[in-house]
């Protein structure tokens, strides 16, 4: 494990686009949450009327809601993290270093495990950034005091992040070419899966929300308007459970691993 990590580190340490994209991702999390924070502060002034609170709910940036709000807002840019995974994986194919690493003595299992570990570490780092952002936002909010209550959202965010990074790794391993992998990845998240879901709704398939990315997205919602949501139309969804996306993550890792170990390089 330390052996694999050291080699991955040597590959990325001096790779500027990697650090640029990582920095951009971290910055985007901060910026998007800052915007939500400002909008929230605009609505929830100190003299907010009780009627408004009835309608919208408590301040979304106050503990305990801030855990869920920040996780939710940050999840919109998870595809950037996916692009990072695609970049470092397809680079190996572009430079044919996936072959060279094997020739130099890596086993196929070691190579693909090192890539899976990289994706997990990026997911952990991403979750840490979101955690710190949530704490800072919660503490900055007026009438808010720190509590771990509701921080389960951070765990859900981590599962969601794994769904995005492992899908990226799977697509990169199957399609190998950077531009093609990026295209298919974004197309899947933004178009293919939503279209499939709409199609399943139309035939009144009850488990339409159990698609790989949708089921992960559904783990977290924005805590405002909870009172209104209760009266909203039912979309025929079944409650999302956290093990559904975990099963998908497991399958993605399995197929990524199998593909690399069992095919010609």
């Amino acid at each position: 494990m330390k052996y694999l990590l050291n080699i991955e580190w040597l590959k990325y340490k001096h790779y500027k686009p990697f650090w640029l994209l990582t920095g951009l991702y971290a910055l985007s999390i901060v910026v998007i949450n800052y915007i939500v924070f400002k909008i929230n502060a605009f609505i929830h002034t100190e003299e907010s009327s009780p009627q408004l609170e009835m309608l919208i709910g408590k301040s979304a940036m106050a503990f305990p809601y801030v855990w869920e709000s920040v996780s939710y807002a940050s999840s919109f840019i998870l595809s950037i993290l996916g692009l990072l995974v695609i970049l470092v994986t397809t680079n190996e194919y572009t430079f044919k270093t996936h072959r060279q690493n094997i020739i130099d003595g890596f086993s196929r299992e070691q190579f693909i495990t090192s890539k899976i570990i990289s994706a997990v570490i990026l997911s952990i780092v991403s979750t840490l950034i979101v955690t710190v952002t949530a704490i800072v936002a919660g503490l900055a909010e007026v009438n808010s005091s720190f509590t771990l209550s509701g921080s389960i959202s951070i765990l859900y965010f981590f599962i969601q992040t794994l769904s995005y990074t492992m899908l990226a790794l799977l697509i990169a391993t199957f399609f190998r070419r950077g531009a093609i992998a990026i295209g298919i990845y974004l197309l899947y998240i933004w178009m293919i899966e939503p279209l499939i879901m709409v199609g399943l709704w139309r035939i009144e398939f009850p488990y339409a929300a159990y698609l790989p990315i949708q089921s992960a997205d559904d783990l977290i919602s924005f805590p405002s308007f909870d009172n209104i949501k209760k009266f909203g139309p039912s979309l025929g969804q079944v409650p999302s459970v956290f093990f559904v996306p975990l099963i998908y993550v497991g399958l993605m890792v399995y197929f990524t691993y199998k593909r690399f170990v069992k095919s010609d390089l």
Partner: protein
């Protein structure tokens, strides 16, 4: 002793049989040439040995006293196109190789000096010329002081200077007691550098053995006498003569060594009233042998 045994390896790409039941052994300390035209399966064979292509059937066994899973860490490899991280410098790339092999970190300076890239160690790989890339690949292959070196068309695309350098390097590595496997489509290269050769065509092993044994199974004689036409005529009636080619200065006779020799021919001609004024034995070149083998 054999450093590598190859047993019944086959690889198919759809309907194309890239390798068809190939078996042979590579003796320790040899320079083993794998010879064949483009598309004969040479690179497929080496790719299987390096675990980047999986065979459909068959197996191979390295005897490097190492555990099988780690054998590649003791094999130096030089492929047609060197594969390195373009965004890293020569030194950073070698650090990754050393990290994967688990040794050689302390030899980076030495090998970079060997291939004359030490002064350019801080330049990024993407700015390297083809010759520099090839030299970095050699440095990388030498990094872990390998027992076995696998080379795929090592002189392809290099200028005469580069070709000469690589050949000298191969010979010096061989002198230090290492085994070398080398794929090439250049007969001349194999004949000049190798001790053993396996000839592949369309994925099939046609022949293998020492270069000497393959080249000298048949012999070619250049013979001349005053009456060259009469000479040609009586030779054509001799048992053991496979073919006769007429040249203005001599006739070229292709003989079966198990039946005939230069001495017997000389005696035979003398008995038929012809005195030879020129008799020269030449070994059949690998090129002639190769063409003869692959035309069947």
């Amino acid at each position: 002793m054999n450093i590598l045994s190859i047993n019944n390896l086959s690889k198919e790409y759809g309907f194309l049989k890239a390798l068809d039941n190939v078996s042979f052994n590579i003796p320790e300390g040899s320079i083993y040439g794998i010879l064949g035209p483009n598309g004969s399966g040479k690179t497929t064979l080496l790719s299987i040995l390096l675990n980047i292509v999986l065979p459909n059937s068959g197996s191979f066994q390295f005897d490097t006293n190492e555990e099988m899973k780690d054998y590649r860490k003791n094999v130096g490899t030089l492929l047609e196109t060197p594969n390195f991280y373009h965004y890293l410098t020569a030194e950073q790339n070698l650090r990754i190789v050393a990290a994967i092999r688990g040794k050689g970190e302390d030899r980076i300076e030495e090998v970079l000096k060997t291939v004359d890239l030490w002064k350019k160690r801080h330049l990024k790989f993407k700015g390297f010329s083809l010759g520099m890339r090839q030299r970095l690949a050699i440095a990388s292959a030498l990094l872990s002081d390998p027992k076995l070196l696998i080379l795929d068309e090592p002189t392809n695309g290099l200028d005469p200077q580069g070709i000469h350098e690589i050949r000298e390097l191969i010979k010096s590595i061989h002198r230090s007691g290492k085994t070398i496997i080398m794929a090439s489509h250049l007969l001349d290269e194999v004949e000049k550098t190798c001790t053993h050769v396996a000839v592949l065509q369309q994925g099939k092993l046609i022949t293998e053995g020492t270069v000497g044994s393959i080249v000298s199974e048949d012999q070619i004689l250049e013979i001349n006498a005053t009456d060259i036409n009469r000479l040609s005529e009586i030779l054509s009636q001799l048992e053991g003569v496979r073919s006769i080619e007429n040249f203005p200065q001599f006739v070229k006779v292709h003989i079966d060594q198990s039946v005939l020799s230069a001495e017997k021919i000389n005696q035979y001609c003398f008995n038929h009233g012809i005195v030879l004024n020129h008799l020269r034995t030449t070994k059949q070149s690998l090129e002639a042998k190769f063409l003869a083998l692959t035309q069947n």
